[in-house]
Every structure is written in C-alpha cells, then in structure tokens.
C-alpha cells in the first residue's frame, strides 16, 4: 500500500539552515548536510531544501549546498526558491536534486512547468502554491505570500497539473508558522480536484495534526520544519502514532 509521506523542510540562507533549528547538538546546528543525514537516519521519507537567499550572487552557492546535502542522501530531494529558468533547474538537478519546485516563476509564466516537464519529466516538477483564505475563497499569493494573484487555489492547481507538474506543494499562508494545524479544508479541496499527489504544508504542531491532514485533509504527504526538531525521535514517534491509527507510513528500523 502506498505510504503517506513525511517531508522535512530545510530553509537555507547563504548555506545555513535558518528556521527551526532547535537541535541541542551544536555539531549539526545550521549545517544543512548534517541535518539532512540526521533526518534520513531518523526515517524521514523525503527532504525539501528551500533557498531563501535574497541575492542572485549568493544563490550560486546553492549548488554547492545541494551537492553537500545530496552527497550521502538516498531519499528524494526537492529544491525550491529561486528556480526560474531551465538553467536554474538544470543546475539544481545536476547538483543532486530530484525535483524542482516552482512558485512565483510558474505563476508568471505557467508554460515554464511544461518546458521543465518535457525536459525532465513530470516527476521532477513540483508546483508550489501558497494560498490564503480571502472573502471565503482560497486565493493564490506569489512572491513568498506577499502578492495577490486573484487566482483560486483549486483552479491553479488543476492548471499546474495539466501543464505538467507532477506534484503540488500546497502551503496555507494562514497556518504557516502558527502550529495550529494544517488547513484541512484547503488541502482536501485541492487534493480532491487533481490527480497528482498533494503535499500539505503550514501549521504542523502536533502528531494529531498530521493524522487530520492525512484523513480529513486527504493529503498524500505532509511537510514540516520545526515539528521534526522537537526531539531526536520525532519522526519515528510520529510514524508509530500514525501507524497505530491506521495511516500507512514507511516504517524504518
């Protein structure tokens, strides 16, 4: 049976993890490669590296970071943030990423999804969608959640899938950083409208939140950052929690 995936997100700026780094072990604090190895050992199913570097110059260092992260990593690795052109995608994939996530770049030119899917296959192309409830609808925002697009989340997800995206990474702006739980209504609305997998993001705080998004939220995968930092056993404990409640997960020994 296909397992529900748990995905850890590393926000990386200038080669360092900048968000939710609460590991007590100073040797790994901030080092994306060390954190990636640790997550892998703990049984995480997939990793997302989000480049939050502000400038183009510093972004070039991302390939080096990806090389280090992927060097000893044998689970899928997605990179997002700053992927705009075919060359950006090529550089990320050459450096060891398996998938690239496009957000603002896809909203600006949706055909970019098609171009990348034709070149690398849909399995390598993730449409990242940031949505926020406005006037009773889920509206898509670009530029890290700062700019309204007037597009509706479900419609944009459908278009992204039609254009060649292989997965949707769906973030609730309302819930992001709140630890109040995933937005199950948003996730279910999108997940039931597209044939491709939907990764829920934003709001993870408790194990129960993951259970809710995998059942009521119909998510295929759930992404979080800080919740996995709580303890060294967070990933294994969460998987045991889900398994006990009938949610299929990948169990590691």
């Amino acid at each position: 049976m296909l397992a529900k995936r748990l995905i850890a997100c590393l926000d990386v700026r200038d080669g360092c993890v900048v968000k939710g780094v609460q590991f007590e072990d100073l040797a790994t604090a901030g080092d994306p490669a060390a954190l990636a190895r640790r997550y892998d050992a703990e049984g995480i199913d997939e990793l997302v590296v989000l480049d939050v570097t502000a400038t183009v110059e510093k972004r070039r260092a991302m390939s080096e970071t990806l090389r280090k992260v992927s060097a000893e990593l044998f689970i899928p690795l997605t990179v997002g943030g700053g992927i705009r052109t075919e060359d950006d995608a090529a550089a990320a994939l050459d450096a060891g990423a398996d998938k690239v996530a496009l957000n603002t770049a896809a909203l600006e030119q949706p055909e970019r999804l098609t171009v990348l899917a034709r070149r690398y296959g849909s399995q390598a192309v993730v449409a990242a969608i940031d949505a926020k409830r406005t006037d009773g609808e889920y509206e898509v925002f670009s530029h890290s959640g700062r700019t309204r697009t007037t597009r509706r989340a479900v419609e944009w997800a459908r278009e992204a899938a039609d254009r060649g995206a292989g997965e949707i990474l769906l973030t609730s702006i309302d819930r992001d950083g709140t630890r109040a739980g995933f937005d199950c209504d948003l996730t279910a609305a999108v997940a039931s409208s597209v044939a491709i997998p939907v990764i829920a993001s934003g709001g993870a705080g408790t194990f129960g939140h993951f259970h809710a998004v995998f059942t009521a939220g119909r998510a295929d995968a759930a992404l979080a950052a800080s919740v996995f930092h709580f303890s060294e056993h967070a990933v294994a404990d969460l998987k045991a929690f889900l398994h006990d409640r009938g949610v299929p997960v990948r169990l590691t020994c």
Binding site: F74, I75, Q123
Partner: protein
C-alpha cells in the same frame, strides 16, 4: 566496471552517487561500441517511454550483444519498462524485447502517477532481492507499469498489481528508484554489483 547508459532521460547523478556508495565504479559510454562487455550495465531513466527512442539501433545491438554474452543488465524505472516489448505510452517505440509483455497505464481509479514509498511483495527467491525482508518499501514515481509475468520476482499494488522487480537469467529490472530508496535500495544495488562481479555465462532468451 558498470556501464551506465545515458540517453538523455533524467539525470544520472543520483545513480552514479549510489553506485559509488556501494563501492562500484561506473562509466558512461559515449558511443555504442564503447559498451563492450563491462561487468554490468544499468539503464536508468525517468519520464516518457518515447525518450527511449534516443537508444538507436546501434545502441540496441551493443546492449543485446552484451546481454547475450552474459553481462548482467539492470533497468531502473523507465529502464525496466524498456526491457519489455513496448509500452502503450509510446506504442510506436520498440522496447528491447528481452522480456515478453507490454507496459500499460495504471488504472486511474487512484492517484496516478504513483508517487511515494510502497512495499514489495516477493513472489520467489531472487538474486537481486537476496536478504531483503518481505514488505521492504521503495520509492516509486511512474504512471505506466509492467505486467506480472514469469520474470516477475516481486509485485507492488497501486490500483492494480504490477511487476515491481523482474529477474530472468542476467536481466534485472526495478520499477522503483533504488538510488532513492534508502538502505533497502542501496542493498539492491549492492546485490547487482555483486552479481556483476561473478563470472558471466552466455544465456538463452528469457
């Protein structure tokens, strides 16, 4: 030395890296005649079956000659589907035909593409899967799948039951990505590398 076929379908970085991790050396032949008789051949690949059109007649002949001489061949994902006669994804493109049967689209009664970790149900002892416990999970990402035939040593279920691992004489294939399947995946690559080191014998068709 393992020959890693590059026909432009997906990046080889991950497979190369995983082979190094299990202590194997590999090379990417630039011309069909460079294949020769390596210790083993891996055909990786992701994406549309039509991508295998880049494997020209000359490449096919080199591959088939090596397999005929007993060189172990491992197809990964699209590379495994290519071992069959063809796929309904690109009906006009011929597969290698080392295994009988054709690949078809997974029934879209559940989410297709099939993306994520799913388990392997072993059907019979296999050299490639030696040592792996039943129910080992591996990372899949595909929409088309191979039929369950005599060559099938493990199946996986997603909408339908399909062949996730095939093995016939020196021809091997995995529908999932061993290079992305953590320890279990590396174990499978290690087994293939070990098989590659053992003496090659000429074999008849599967």
């Amino acid at each position: 030395m393992i020959a890693l076929l590059d026909y432009g379908a997906g990046n080889l970085t991950s497979v190369r890296k995983a082979l190094h991790a299990v202590g194997a050396e590999c090379f990417t032949p630039a011309m069909p005649e460079e294949i020769g008789t390596p210790s083993g051949i891996i055909i990786p690949g992701v994406g549309n079956f039509a991508a295998t059109r880049s494997i020209t007649v000359a490449w096919r002949e080199s591959l088939l000659a090596a397999v005929g001489a007993g060189v172990p061949l491992l197809g990964i994902c699209l590379g495994m589907q290519y071992l069959f006669e063809g796929s309904e994804e690109a009906p006009d493109v011929r597969g290698l035909g080392l295994l009988s049967g054709r690949c078809s689209l997974l029934p879209p009664i559940v989410k297709v593409p099939h993306v994520g970790w799913n388990d392997l149900q072993m059907r019979r002892p296999s050299r490639l899967l030696g040592g792996l416990p039943p129910g080992t999970q591996a990372y899949f990402t595909h929409s088309y799948a191979a039929p369950v035939t005599d060559a099938c040593v493990a199946t996986t279920e997603h909408a339908s039951v399909f062949a996730s691992v095939v093995e016939c004489n020196n021809v091997f294939g995995v529908q999932f990505h061993p290079e992305k399947s953590s320890k279990g995946g590396l174990q499978i690559l290690r087994s293939f590398v070990e098989i590659s080191k053992s003496p090659h014998f000429q074999v008849s068709k599967c």
